[in-house]
């Protein structure tokens, strides 16, 4: 009943190409945007911003970048963490070299550094695919993290080897650094993520997205319909690494506030990969659902038993978290390889025809 599409006729291809051909979807999105832009900022506490809202957005963005490469273009990558690191270090260097630089400009520019490095490490994809490519991107993971540790210039030769985010303000509002209010950071992250999601949706539904999916589904046939495999794959690496780089810059500047090289080590890559898998490969929405699940899970595990009068030690919470996430990944790979996004799609189909079975 809620999702009745009857009577929504489309009389032009333009209308058919609309972002949400079904009106209810547009309402749903409007509702979520109102929630994100109005309701959360008015109600959320500092704790909710820092432990839930901001990390969900940043992890979603990183997963979105990975999803473009793995879910859309079919190129398996395990180097996500390192590419996030490239974005973060690039942003740090940009802000130290040009101290007056607008933070937003720095974040968006640091994506290009990561994109360039992503393309360089994407070159093997022209020759190898599948697990072998995953191993090649793993090389990027180890090499880059090693570089973050060894190349002092990257962290301005600080004694600790870590990068510290200074206070950065735009028009009197502090967005980064120790004194930045969480709500400012939240808005900054939210706007960036919204913008990039919009662009990613458009890219994936048009010519370029079709080319990526064609390469993913059958690369030989893709070549024989006139798709230049090299261009399509490298473009996927470029766009993906750009988004991951921006996510990395936000990760350090708008959330963590400081970072050491090993923050970008392989656990981060896996975390983002898990979000993309649980959320759904080849879907934009899935990244958000996956990130909400992965970020919220530890908060729920520690919060709910405590509220029920059964406080758990932090170590138990950690272990439970790992066990549950592991189980979820196995379950999703077996039962629903297309993840939460597919579950939602199935539910939506059912809602459209409800109360009839067909």
């Amino acid at each position: 009943m809620l999702y009745r599409v009857a009577g929504q006729y489309k009389t032009s291809y333009k209308a058919d190409f609309a972002l949400f051909p079904v009106r209810q979807d547009a309402w749903l999105l409007a509702f979520i945007l109102v929630l994100a832009f109005v309701v959360f900022p008015m109600t959320a506490s500092e704790f909710v911003f820092r432990t839930l809202l901001i990390p969900v957005l940043i992890y979603s963005l990183a997963a979105l970048g990975l999803n473009i490469l793995t879910g859309y273009a079919g190129q398996l990558s395990l180097g996500t963490g390192a590419f996030m690191g490239v974005g973060a270090y690039a942003c740090y260097k940009l802000m130290t070299i040009f101290p007056g630089l607008n933070l937003l400009a720095a974040v968006l520019m640091s994506g290009f550094v990561s994109a360039a490095i992503g393309v360089a490490f994407g070159l093997p994809s022209l020759r190898i695919k599948g697990f072998y490519l995953a191993i090649a991107t793993l090389a990027a993971q180890f090499f880059l993290v090693w570089l973050f540790q060894k190349w002092g210039w990257l962290y301005n030769y600080s004694a600790s080897g870590a990068i510290q985010v200074p206070n950065i303000s735009i028009l009197g509002f502090t967005f980064a650094g120790p004194t930045a209010p969480a709500i400012n950071q939240y808005f900054f992250v939210l706007c960036t993520v919204t913008l990039i999601t919009f662009v990613a949706i458009n890219l994936t539904r048009g010519r370029i997205g079709r080319q990526w999916k064609a390469v993913r589904d059958m690369d030989i046939a893709a070549e024989l319909v006139g798709i230049n495999l090299m261009k399509a794959k490298l473009l996927a690496f470029f766009v993906s690494s750009y988004i991951i780089g921006v996510a990395g810059a936000l990760f350090v500047f708008l959330w963590r506030g400081a970072a050491e090289a090993n923050l970008f080590d392989i656990p981060l890559s896996f975390r983002v990969l898990f979000i993309a898998i649980i959320g759904g490969l080849g879907s934009i929405l899935g990244n958000y659902l996956g990130a909400i699940l992965i970020v919220a899970l530890p908060v729920i595990i520690s919060g709910v038993p405590a509220a029920l009068g059964l406080p758990l030690t932090p170590a138990t919470v950690d272990h439970l978290n790992i066990m549950i996430i592991g189980a979820l990944i196995i379950l999703f790979l077996i039962l629903e390889p297309h993840g939460l996004a597919r579950l939602w799609a199935v539910a939506r189909e059912k809602l459209i025809i409800w109360p009839f079975p067909h």
């Binding site: 291809y13 458009n202 048009g206 010519r207 589904d217 893709a222 319909v225 080849g282």
Partner: protein
């Protein structure tokens, strides 16, 4: 290849500089081997503009290898391919597509996770040019181009009578329909030469009749030159204007269907001879 009258159902790729009846593709003394295995030995034949040319032969005769040579997937060790008056030896498949050669596969090679519509739209990528900047915004030239090509694709969907499966992922479709979608994807490229590798393999009689009708319609209404491989001799004899017969990588006959049918070496190749 972009001069098409808007609204006309069939847009022939007739501006390729070759008049009807002239040689569109010429294969001359082509040999192809994989290590010690000689797949094709010294084969020459031509395809004339506007005809349906069949390539037949027993299994392993080198038919599919021949198609792979024509569309640039394999590079022959010897011999030349002349397409639309331009000679070539080595090229990438996507260049062949740009020159106007499209093909379908013996085993359906569709993009399984994509819908019928997206599959056929992917066939149009070679004609789409809008830059990434506009595509990121889904606006202006990118949107206009998307709509323009959607119209072309809808013509093909209409022609092949697959409107009802427009939004279905092709992996879920039955085999006969998948073959039809694959033909649609090849048609979307608006080729001057369409290579069909066993378009009717594994089909029942009714599906074969439908597919034959589509092939004839494509040839007559769009003016597309077709080279096809097929094992169903009834279909080959009825559809094709000329037939070339291969056996063990060598050409053993070439000519009108009736001549070929009565050629002793062809009969021997198919039925076998006592040695």
């Amino acid at each position: 290849m972009n001069a098409h009258a808007a609204g006309s159902q069939f847009t022939a790729a007739d501006d390729d500089g070759v008049a009807k009846g002239d040689t569109l593709l010429e294969v001359k003394n082509v040999s192809l081997s994989f290590g010690g295995v000689k797949a094709i030995t010294n084969i020459s034949f031509d395809v004339k503009k506007g005809e349906i040319r069949a390539i037949i032969g027993p299994n392993g005769a080198g038919k599919t290898s021949m198609l792979n040579v024509i569309n640039g997937f394999y590079t022959p060790q010897e011999g030349t391919i002349t397409f639309r008056g331009q000679q070539r030896r080595a090229m990438k498949p996507h260049h062949a597509v740009r020159q106007g050669i499209a093909r379908t596969f013996q085993n359906v090679a569709l993009f399984k996770g994509m819908t019928t519509l997206d599959n056929i739209m992917a066939g149009r990528s070679v004609h789409m040019k809008s830059n990434i900047g506009w595509q990121m915004l889904w606006h202006g030239p990118a949107l206009a181009e998307e709509i323009e090509h959607r119209e072309k694709v809808e013509e093909i969907i209409d022609f092949l009578e697959i409107e009802h499966i427009r939004r279905t992922p092709v992996g879920k479709l039955p085999y006969g329909l998948q073959k039809r979608v694959e033909l649609g994807r090849a048609l979307a490229m608006e080729p001057s030469l369409l290579l069909l590798d066993e378009p009717m393999a594994g089909m029942n009689l009714e599906e074969k009749e439908d597919m034959s009708r589509f092939i004839i319609d494509v040839n007559q209404q769009r003016g597309t030159t077709i080279a096809l491989i097929e094992h169903d001799m009834g279909v080959v004899m009825d559809l094709s204007d000329r037939v070339v017969v291969l056996d063990y990588g060598k050409k053993i006959a070439d000519g009108a269907p009736d001549e070929v049918k009565n050629d002793q070496s062809v009969i021997d190749a198919y039925l076998g001879v006592a040695h």
